[in-house]
Amino acid sequence: MSIFHAQQGRKPGQGWSALLFLSPTLLVFSMFVLFPVFFSFYLSFHKWNMFSADTAFVGLENYSRILRNPEFWGVLKNTVVYTLGTIPLNMSLALLVAFFLNKKIAGKKFLRTAFFAPVIMSSVAAAVIWRWVYEPNFGLLNYCLSWFGIPAINWLNDPTAAMFALIVMGVWKTFGVNMVLFSAGLQGIPDHYYEAAEIDGAGRWQKFWSITLPLLSPTTFFILVMSVIGSFQVFDTVYVLTSGGPLGTTKVLVFYLYEHAFKFFEMGYASAVAYVMFVIIFVLTLLQTKYLKGTIHYTA
């Protein structure tokens, strides 16, 4: 509503000065966001190696090549595995930590900062550290596991372990954001609901299931949608930790896109991959909105 009020109240000529003030941002936005969006859409129907001045129109060939390529489906599967692996772990951990940090405990602020720290860390720097944690011969993880007599695992070069290693790092890196969101959500639940429930003799679990979870559902929904988008776009940690290996078991969609764009210089094909990815994420988000909207309870 506030926007409309502002528009009704404006004086003649004000629009232009607004545009003037917005122009630096608009310029940067159009150059680095808007233009690439349309240009890559255009490219997805062309063949272009970035070098040559001319692009050849190929119609839908890039798209049909993607869908016919078994590697693409393998990559999509890897992305889904990563998404299914990270999200439940990420969200339950975030909720658990947020729940306990919402209570009056000592060192609360320190703990919250500590859990949030990985989020603001450069993901490439973090991945380089994790690479050494996972290192089979000299790494910290195998060293710790050896105390319990667990044999060394080549975390990043074993086709059965690499995706798991990526998921663990992914959860570590991103659950802090969700923890903060959940904390905010928890603080937004009015105390009188709990007081009323206590008077009615509700136990701890009952309060959690019947009050906390339902009233947290807008936050949960938001986190779920954002996490699905984020997991589908995972790239930097994959690039540094495994580069899609071993045996292609951790090759995810954006890595596949990167490979075609900047290794093989097939800009058309890579742009088409970007649009296929866009459609997948878009449809997933629509489905979530459609089917989960009904389960969301908003506070009055």
């Binding site: 690439p36 044999p151 080549n154 959500g185 938001f222 071993p246 045996l247 090759k251």
Partner: protein, 452 residues
Amino acid sequence: MAGDFHTKVLIKPGGVFLTILIIAGAGSLISGGCGKKQEEASGKVTLTFWHSCVSSTVPALNELIERFQKENPGIEIRAQYVPTGDALVQKLITAVQSKTSPDVSWIHADFLQDLVEADAIYRMDDLINGPDSLPRAELSDFYPALLRAAQWRGTLYCMPMEATGIGLLCNRELFRNAGLDPDRPPKTWAELRDYAKRLTLDRNGDGKNDQVGFFVPIFPASGPLYAWMVWQWYPFLFQAGGDVINAEQTHVLYNSDAAVQALTLWKNIYNDLDLKTFTIDYEVAFASKQLAMTLDGPWNIPRWNQIKGLDWYIAPLPEGPVKRATIVGGEYLAVFKQTQHVKEAWTFIKWVIRPEIQALWSMKSGYLPVRRAVHTIPEYTAYLENNKPLKAYVDQLDVAQAPSPMDYQGMKITVHIAEAVEKATLGRMDPKTVLDESAEKSDELLRTQVRK
């Protein structure tokens, strides 16, 4: 309230979608990064020169450039280091697009298809036959494998600046501990496999090897080291009498019997030593004496020299079932068409390939010379006598071979080979089957994607 909080932090999902799309589009917007060449007030010509020499050799390069400038007072070289080979080709592409290319660049021969098709570089032949000509006879002094790789579809487009090769790096101490003669490296494939086993030890009996005899370089085919892996496999392919592609470049040959033999050797050693659980940071492993033998290149000589208490040497690669062979690769100089100083660029290239400069560059940097005439320089032969590791690499140049040129789709074919090597070793699949599968993909590519 929760609702208020959301309106503040909620990023429009659309914005997030858009950001991924930039990945594909932004490439064309990345600027070349390098400023336009500036003419000095003194009338000096400034040449911009991009390179990805191994970082340990950069001081030597600076020395080389200083000497060139002293001998050619009218030319100033502005060298710009680009960290890795892959970043360099990406940077060159965007620079050519935005008309900010360097005058001269150090390139890998596998960039040639892209650079030539974009009409970005001069033909070396034009410069060789040009006003400041180079006698044809001088070219015959170069190692032929290097010149062959400098050509694209039979035309010379760049000039080798330095050569590299592969040798067998051995740790004498670990040989001695295993009861082996420390100065007798394995001479055949069978010996390599046998030595590798005998040098692999599980000291504390926990079922995991604490020392590994030989490192079979298996890296992810999708990762940055795939080409390095394939490059190290080629000598074994050559030793068994194989090659990568036929001379007409119509179909690949890397699934021949020779290739199967070479890959089987790697697979056997990989399995014998249970390398699946061993680190892929072989340099760290060798430095910490957990690795007795590994393939290595001359650029690492300074690294090993720096480590105290490491008793190492470079041996020639063992002989294969058909012949002795190793691989030679080069790094090349190309002149960009956007330059205004073709004459000066050519002066620089002609200077770099002079025998005495090649000898100097090799001594300072550890790279191998590109031509035989260096051996007529007494200073260089004396230097080699005192620097056995470099001598071992230089001596091997006589049996060094390069894969047949792949003018088209070379990078993808290399990825196909890498996939087969990774599948046969780490993936425990049958070498013949995976090589056939990959070869079929490569042949399909050659049939459909090659413009003649």
